[in-house]
Amino acid sequence: MTTYIRHAGVFCALLLLALLVNATRVQVFEASTYDANPANRRATIARYAQPRGDILVGGRSVTGTRDSGEQLRHERTYADGPLYAPVTGFASQVYGTTLLEHTEDGILSGSDPMLAPLPLWNDVTRARSPSGNVVTTLDRAAQEAAYRGLAGRKGAVAAVEPSTGRVLALVSTPSYDPAELSGNGDAVTSAWARLNRDPRKPMLNRAVRQTYPPGSTFKVVTAAAALDAGVVTDLDERTDSPDPYTLPGTRTWLTNESEDCADASVRVAFAWSCNTVFAKLGVDVGAEDMVSTAQAFGFNDTGLKIPFSVAQSTFDTTVDRAQLALSSIGQYNTRATPLQMAMVAAAVANGGQVREPYLVERTTRKGGETVEGAGTHDVRQAMRPTTAARLRELMTDVVREGTGTNAAIPGATVGGKTGTAQHGVDNSGTPYAWFVSWAQADDDLEPKVAVAVVVEDASADRGDISGGGDAAPIAKSVMEAVLGLRDADQRRGAGGRPAHRR
């Protein structure tokens, strides 16, 4: 009988072995699959079990957390929700995360392996590190100036540091308070519905996720292409450009808003924004060179991430000559995000080099020690340095005596370009007012800021719209904020002198 008892014992041992093997299967080999199952609430619970890390602007946190005491304990709060919404995005327990909250979620929620004390430590202990913080490149004063300047009108501002690509301001109005979406109650659901229904689209990030026809501000690119290609050698030489200009191969006339554009020199045409001159310049340069210059500036780039993705700015690559003429003055299929136009201005300010913009200076642990720096970012030569120098000249002229005088800052060199972009069916929509510019304080070695402003619904009659009137003052206040200059007798609100159109 003992033999059989032994056999039965072996059988029981096999049962035990089966249990152990199966437990290992479930707890070790299948664990990650089970953990990742969307129906498994643990990841969600763990995610909100600890306070979320903060997003810092200028050394101060613009976010916080609130302990709700519910199963999903910590909810996101925002110190200045609407102001920073285009940067932070929201972190909702119901609707997920967007923008920085999304791309930096690993750091902010503590799940990033970089936060672990030792490699693979968290994988072994299945623990979560204390959440880290994200330090942004934003300039608090610039951000506030831009937001104040837009004053609730539909529009956007993007500002970058030309020599590095650091994003200094990213504003989109009308904005929303991401805190409304943080939790998981009925209030969140109704806020979500309300924000999505709102015809003014407060949740649209106009600075990076919306493209506009850049209008005359695109003439910076066209001028760069013409100078680089050698189509224009002397800025003061009269060009052979009729006014009005008949688009090649069509009977459509292109006209100007300004006088004295017929056969105007590039300097004059740039200062007074002559459509005819630049349309013809684009055609003379040819599609191939126009496309390659535009792309060097960043147009048609689908992969730009700052770290969240930026909508693609477009310059149509398959155009006939008439379409090329329109494309060259920022119409037809040419579209740009405000950030893209800030990059154009920055390239001029930075000797023709386009620095890839970025928003995250570094990520840190809770205690402040750096986890990851800004990393390396691409540099592209969009035009020859000599071309950039001549364009700086052209752009300073615009601010000194052209359409952009509203952006002039005492104690600094400012270069800019106005734009008024027609859009809509038969150009029936309210034109967009554009202004792109850069500024260098007199005691700085290089330009410190490049900015692009677009105002969609400059709440005025069509006749009064102009980049110089609506957008330039906003650009000016942003540049002043970055340079630390304040115009003593600056009058807030509308610009000083009546601006020239385009």
Partner: protein, 466 residues
């Protein structure tokens, strides 16, 4: 250690040749360790949840300690040669079960189960002490074979008179307490099977009719036992308690094999098991859905109905990983209403990890192994079969429920011995431990070294050539 001489017969008693070490000191040390471990777990829950030692810690530690010490004293007095591991394992598993239930009570403030479980544990240890003190010789139980089988069948049929709970009709309610009589029936049936098989071993081994290639014993011998088994299983199918039915079946096959040594039995048993399982699986929707869940635990998730209990259980085990989340820090409460009973192991798996779960499995393994060891060392067939039967009850029970909640086999409701919420189960398992204590005491008192070869000659099946 002198060896027994030539062959000995079952009724021979050897005088104790050498005084064996009693090892009660080891038992005491292990009990202290078990109580301290449980107390540590209890404090850990409080510290993890509120940052302070829970107020009942002293009471809990003292209560468990006193109970364990009383049990130890009983063993010291009446079963001095007993295995020193059995009692500490029982104490540790019971203490850990209390900790886990207390921990789950924190998630369900309106429904606290730990106090009742503590009362039942006290009763269980009380029963343990009574059995150890009063049952001086396990062979007395042989006389009660038929009494116990009648009682067992009575207990099994009792719940049919009461309303079903969660699809199973296995509880009776008396004075606010719900009791699962099927739990007690397990021990009584083990006693009956052991006694009956020990008495009819020879007859069973005789060749009866030969069916196909299996030698069947004569119907006269086999009839009663099959009848008993069929009745018990039939009752269980009526009560929808598949786990217990599976357990009885396994117990029956194991004991039959150990008594007769016929591998044919195992084949027939497995065949019957498969047939029965398929039939029940098809006919019984309750069971059918369990099988479907086992085949694909996440089907309900894909169907958009959310995770079922098994999926939640698997999530809990997976969340534990190697080292677990730590006591009090898991989310096994997501499993729902059965988290404290059938799925208690998921909490252990999540909060103690694979390390803790393996430790628990190995504790059960040790318990079973010691039971088998006593079975090997005993000289009387009844004792051998009873030890093997009781150890197998624990082994099968652990396998059925642990395999069920970890997705190894289809889920059948059953209480994890000592760990799970369920008064009847705790009391029954303490009774099993008491019987194993008595059996191991007898085994070592007989002074036979374990598993000597001559025993095999002595107790080999008396096969008679046809």
């Amino acid at each position: 250690m002198t060896k027994a001489g030539t062959t000995v017969s079952a009724t021979d008693r050897l005088p104790p040749v050498a005084r064996l070490p009693r090892r009660r000191g080891i038992e005491l040390a292990l009990i202290v360790l078990a109580v301290l471990l449980s107390l540590y777990g209890y404090c850990h829950v409080g510290l993890a949840r509120t940052g302070s030692v829970p107020p009942g810690a002293v009471g809990y530690g003292a209560g468990l300690g006193v109970l364990a010490l009383l049990a130890h004293l009983a063993v010291r007095i009446r079963a001095p040669y007993a295995e020193p591991l059995l009692l500490p394992i029982g104490v540790l598993l019971n203490g850990l079960g209390l900790v886990l239930i207390y921990r789950l009570d924190l998630e369900t403030p309106g429904d606290r189960a730990a106090p009742a479980q503590l009362v039942w544990s006290t009763l269980g240890v009380g029963l343990f002490i009574v059995v150890v003190l009063l049952l001086r010789d396990h062979r007395v139980l042989q006389r009660y074979a038929y009494v116990s089988v009648v009682t067992a069948l009575g207990l099994l049929t009792l719940p049919i008179l009461f309303p079903a709970v969660n699809g199973a009709r296995i509880w009776i309610r008396i004075a606010g307490f719900s009791i699962q009589p099927g739990e007690f029936a397990k021990v009584l049936l083990a006693v009956f099977f052991a006694a009956y098989l020990a008495a009819n071993r020879g007859a069973l081994a005789y060749a009866g009719r030969r069916v196909w290639f299996v030698q069947l014993p004569t119907g006269r011998v086999l009839g009663p036992i099959v009848a008993i088994w069929l009745i018990s299983v039939g009752v269980l199918v009526l009560e929808r308690d598949l786990g217990t039915s599976l357990l009885f079946f396994g117990l029956f096959v194991v004991l039959l094999y150990v008594a007769t040594g016929r591998t044919g039995w195992i084949a027939v048993g497995l065949l019957l098991a498969v047939l029965g399982a398929v039939a029940v699986g098809w006919l019984e929707p309750h069971v059918h859905s369990r099988v479907e869940d086992w085949m694909d635990p996440f089907a309900t998730i894909r169907a958009g109905q959310g995770p079922n209990q098994l999926a939640q259980s698997l999530f809990a085990f997976a969340a534990g990983g190697m080292l677990g989340s730590g006591l009090g820090l898991g989310h096994s409460i997501l499993i729902g209403f059965a988290a404290k009973s059938d799925f208690i192991l998921a909490t252990a798996g999540e909060e103690l990890g694979l390390a803790g779960l393996s430790a628990i499995f190995l504790l059960y393994g040790l318990l079973v192994e010691r039971g088998y060891r006593a079975g090997l060392a005993l000289r009387d067939p009844f004792g051998q079969l009873l030890a093997v039967g009781l150890a197998s009850i624990v082994a099968l029970q652990v396998f059925v429920i642990a395999g069920g909640v970890t997705g190894l086999i289809p889920l059948t409701g059953m209480a994890m011995p000592f760990l799970a919420q369920g008064g009847s189960s705790v009391v029954t398992n303490w009774a099993i431990t008491a019987l194993l204590i008595r059996l191991s005491d007898s085994a070592r008192r007989q002074g036979a070294p374990y598993g000597q070869p001559e025993q095999r000659r002595a107790y080999g099946t008396a096969r008679v050539a046809p």
